[in-house]
């Protein structure tokens, strides 16, 4: 084994898995992310994932991996790991945004479980859900019937007190009102793109106010991790000939803030992608 170059081990490991989870660890002190005068979450994800994979593939160490099943591979950047100790947990607020890339309700729970296990916490203070792009067979327009099935796992996470507050992202007034009306556990947050923070439609503001919904801002692109980008990241590190069989399933960003002090303690991304042989159908709920 020792004679095999590490890059070769990395390649072998990647080719033998169909389910890959990458965790950047705490990126708050990654200087190159702050050197640019402007950067959006898309570029940030791309850079952190590439860096994580690069480090991994050049220094593969079995302790970095968690082979839960025989083909799920979890890669965490160990230099960047910051687990939250129990005594500091009450002073911290952990906020999560899930960018769901497939309309599969199970992925929501999976993503939340993953972040809890990575940070070693039992409860997430808030989870926001950004919807996947509409798929061909789903029609032209987003309706509440698309939203409710993937909102349902959010409600369950809230029920079991895994998550203290749940919210949505980029819903317009119509969609927010309908979701709010039909959901069993109502969203208490809706995120709006920062470019419109000075020009929020008055009806959205009014609806949010009446229903105790916080309107928060984000500056995330519509598609935070396009499939070709994800494949390029893998191609760069794995030398896998079949990278075009890979697709990203979800991207999760967490932020850990010190309560009432406005200080960011940690921030990171966790991304899950899966491989399908080209002749196999995608499993979509």
């Amino acid at each position: 084994m020792s004679a095999v170059p590490v890059e070769e081990i990395a390649r072998l490991m990647l080719s033998s898995t169909n389910n890959l989870t990458l965790h950047t660890g705490n990126i708050i002190n990654w200087n190159h992310l702050k050197r640019k005068t402007s950067q959006n979450a898309g570029e940030e994800v791309l850079e952190c994932l590439s860096a994580t994979l690069n480090v991994w593939s050049s220094t593969v160490d079995p302790s970095w991996m968690n082979e839960e099943s025989n083909n799920a591979l979890v890669i965490t950047n160990p230099n960047q790991m910051e687990r939250i100790s129990e005594d500091e947990r009450s002073k911290l607020k952990v906020s999560v945004k899930i960018f769901l890339l497939k309309w599969d309700p199970d992925l929501v729970v999976e993503a939340v479980d993953q972040v809890c296990s990575e940070l070693d916490i039992g409860v997430v203070d808030s989870v926001l859900l950004a919807l996947p792009p509409l798929e061909a067979e789903m029609g032209e327009e987003l309706t509440v019937n698309h939203i409710l099935p993937i909102w349902e796992p959010m409600e369950r996470l809230y029920d079991v007190e895994r998550v203290s507050a749940i919210g949505t992202s980029d819903l317009d007034k119509e969609m927010l009102e309908q979701t709010h009306g039909m959901a069993r556990v109502k969203p208490t947050i809706n995120q709006v793109n920062v470019v419109s923070c000075c020009v929020i439609p008055p009806d959205l503001t009014a609806f949010a106010k009446e229903n105790d919904i916080q309107l928060l801002t984000h500056s995330d692109p519509r598609d935070v991790l396009p499939t070709p980008t994800f494949q390029d990241i893998l191609r760069g590190s794995s030398h896998d000939d079949h990278v075009d069989e890979w697709q990203p399933f979800w991207v999760l960003r967490y932020t850990v803030m010190v309560k009432c002090r406005g200080v960011i303690k940690a921030k990171g991304y966790i991304v899950n992608g899966r491989r399908h042989a080209t002749d196999m159908p995608l499993s979509v709920a």
Binding site: T37, C198, L215, L216, M257, K259, C260, R261, G262
Partner: protein, 659 residues
């Protein structure tokens, strides 16, 4: 400006006798505070701003603007309202040095939620409305947040007009600034008199006059009531000022924040010190003194000169005989030393300090850096003392400590917690000049407080040798420094990388910043324009705003707050780039474009009237002023977003912050 005790003030001769007593017990009080509270930890962010206003009377018929001396009267009404307010009053009012000045602060501190950034401007508006509601509009009374009144110290600048000459002005002996314009509280006259008497002569401020095409060369004034002293003191081509009122009669904008513990307070003190000159230049608002255009844009050196109580020996003009130290700076000036071990190597100017006090502090367990800081502040004599407040219980009170601490008016202030209070270790940022409008003032305040959060989150490092900060402080005051000045600034403010980034291999060549020392330090900083510091350099320093945006993209922030913060950052960015004018540049342009201006540097009564009137209209939003702040407009709110508000009331029923 510091604590106010009622009672009988002592003369300078008396005060001097008690100087060692005050210092000795002041240090003991500090030691007691330190012992009790050095390990205090876990305080949340609380912060506040202070805005100073000038009461002005605009006389439309005679086209004059005068400073109204009814500050005490108005303050009494404001304080009465505050006392009688059934709920917690949202504003608090305090006296200031001059009887035309009043200081307003929020009724309770703002807290550590993002939504608090959106309340600053509304609270400032509320303050201004409260103040204006007590003034008589029919009589032309108004309140303006000028840094300096353009005709301060010119003939008849007060309302009512009062006699002004060295004989009636027993406290200041000023030719220009009547004692009647000093706040009636005895502390202020005592300070004025004691500073002069301690110094052994009147204070002497000479600020270069702006040389316009018709300005006499040499520019030399004759003073009708002038004496030998003023003839000697006034320099050619300078605007001469001769008393405390010219400095302490200026307004400024200050902010104070509570740190989570003593170490964080020291850290923020150090990190913000190099930013003082940058924000002095960015906020420049004081280009006119005693009715003349000056060749400087800021108040700083004027105030420094106005309270310079050093004797001739202390100023190094005569050999030391009766005094202990030669002291290079006034009690009001830029700080002389950093407080954290990381910054120690940048303490490159000789620190004048009282060795005995330093030793006493070290013996009490205070580390050397902090001991040196306080032993440096304590080279000063008390300049105001009340007979009722001489013998104190050092365990319960801190008046003697505060006496010296609060008359060291430096660019930053490191504030230990008061004894027996819930307040923690705090830091005050003091260089900013006050702006005309609430929008602008909120922008500067929010920028600085937000920056402290970014400093703590990203562990930024702005340290440069303290001598370079001093150089910057002088550079900042020059005319149009914001566009033309160059300032020492660190090339790299991000901490050294402990971690792998894109490059997985260890980087043997990378220098950690602790490895820099001696000559290598030169590589750490370079000269930059304000624009580069704020907006970044192509391929070089990324700029403060980009770091702040990165922070803002990470934290949870509601839409209204984000909108307002965006507008505030844009104001600062555009001031830095020169696209928008600083208040100083705008005032200068206003004077120079006035039809009655004769290109002789004189800001006449009539020009001052128009300037004041237009400033008042801009302040009140009756007149737009795109040169100053473009079309920027915030979405400020009087309280936190309703949802947050509700939640907070539930979680924190004591609500010791503004909600």
């Amino acid at each position: 400006m510091g604590l106010l005790s009622l009672g009988s003030p002592l003369s300078w001769e008396e005060t001097k006798k008690w100087a060692d007593h005050v210092r000795k017990h002041g240090i003991q009080q500090l030691i007691n505070i330190y012992r009790r509270l050095k390990d205090r930890h876990g305080d949340v962010l609380k912060w506040g701003d202070e805005v100073e206003y000038m009461l002005v009377v605009l006389d439309e018929n005679n086209r004059t603007a005068r400073l109204s001396l009814k500050g005490n009267q108005v303050l009494e009404q404001l304080e009465k309202r505050e006392r009688e307010s059934p709920n917690d009053p949202p504003t608090t009012w305090r006296p200031e040095y001059a009887s035309y000045m009043i200081e307003g602060t929020p009724g309770k501190p703002y807290g550590g939620l993002m939504g608090h950034f959106n309340m600053v401007e509304s609270n400032m508006r509320l303050r201004r409305e409260e103040l204006l509601s007590l003034l008589d509009r029919e009589l032309g009374e108004t309140a303006i947040s000028f840094t300096v009144f353009p005709r301060l110290g010119s003939p008849a600048f007060t309302d009512p007009q009062v006699e002004c000459n060295p004989t009636v002005n027993t406290a200041s002996r000023s030719l220009f600034f009547p004692d009647a314009a000093i706040n009636h509280h005895p502390r202020f006259r005592t300070l004025t008199r004691n500073i002069r008497e301690r110094r052994g002569e009147k204070v002497c401020i000479n600020i270069p006059v702006f040389q316009d095409k018709n300005t006499p060369k040499p520019f030399r004034e004759t003073f009708s009531n002038g004496d030998e002293e003023s003839r000697k003191a006034a320099k050619d081509d300078h605007i001469y000022m001769d008393c405390m009122g010219f400095g302490m009669g200026c307004s400024c904008l200050q902010m104070t924040f509570q740190a989570c513990n003593i170490d964080e307070a020291r850290h923020l003190y150090d990190q913000l010190a190099p930013l003082c000159p940058i924000f002095l230049a960015l906020s420049a608002a004081a280009p006119v003194y005693r009715g003349y255009l000056a060749d400087v844009d800021c108040r700083w050196n004027i105030i420094a000169g106005s309270v310079d109580c050093r004797t001739r020996e202390e100023r190094g003009l005569e050999p030391l005989k009766d005094d202990k130290f030669v002291i290079p700076k006034s009690r009001y000036d830029s700080i002389d030393c950093y407080l954290t071990p990381e910054a120690q190597k940048y303490n490159d100017i000789d620190l004048v300090l009282d060795q005995d006090i330093c030793q006493q502090l070290e013996d009490a367990g205070i580390d050397r850096l902090l001991a040196r800081h306080f032993a440096h502040l304590f080279i000063r004599d008390p300049i105001s003392l009340f007979s009722e407040k001489i013998h104190l219980n050092d365990d319960e009170e801190s008046d003697h400590f505060e006496n010296i601490q609060s008359t060291n008016w430096q660019s930053m202030r490191f504030k230990p917690p008061p004894p027996n209070s819930p307040i923690g270790w705090r830091v005050e940022f003091r260089p900013t000049e006050v702006q005309l409008t609430d929008f602008e003032n909120a922008a500067y305040v929010v920028f600085i407080v937000l920056l402290t959060r970014v400093i703590l989150s990203y562990n930024l490092n702005f340290l440069i040798p303290i001598s370079k900060v001093d150089e910057n402080m002088q550079e900042a005051q020059k005319r149009d420094a914001v566009r033309q000045g160059l300032f020492w600034f660190r090339k790299e403010v991000l901490p050294p990388n402990e971690c792998c980034e894109e490059d997985p291999k260890p980087k043997p060549a990378a220098k950690s910043y602790s490895q820099y020392n001696g000559s290598c330090q030169q590589e750490e900083y370079t000269k930059m324009s304000i624009n580069e510091i704020i907006n970044g350099q192509a391929g070089g320093f990324q700029g403060l705003v980009s770091l702040m945006n990165s922070y803002l993209e990470t934290v949870e922030i509601d839409v209204d707050t984000r909108c307002s913060v965006q507008q505030y950052l844009r104001l600062i960015q555009k001031r830095a780039s020169g696209e928008l004018m600083t208040t100083a540049r705008w005032i200068r342009a206003f004077v120079q474009n006035h039809p009655k201006y004769k290109y002789d540097s004189v800001v006449s009564d009539e020009i001052a009237y128009d300037l004041t009137k237009v400033s008042d209209e801009i302040t009140k939003g009756i007149r737009s002023c795109p040169e100053l702040f473009g079309m920027l407009n915030s979405r400020t709110k009087v309280s936190l977003p309703p949802v947050v508000h509700k939640k907070l009331r539930k979680e924190n029923p004591d609500h010791d912050i503004l909600t």
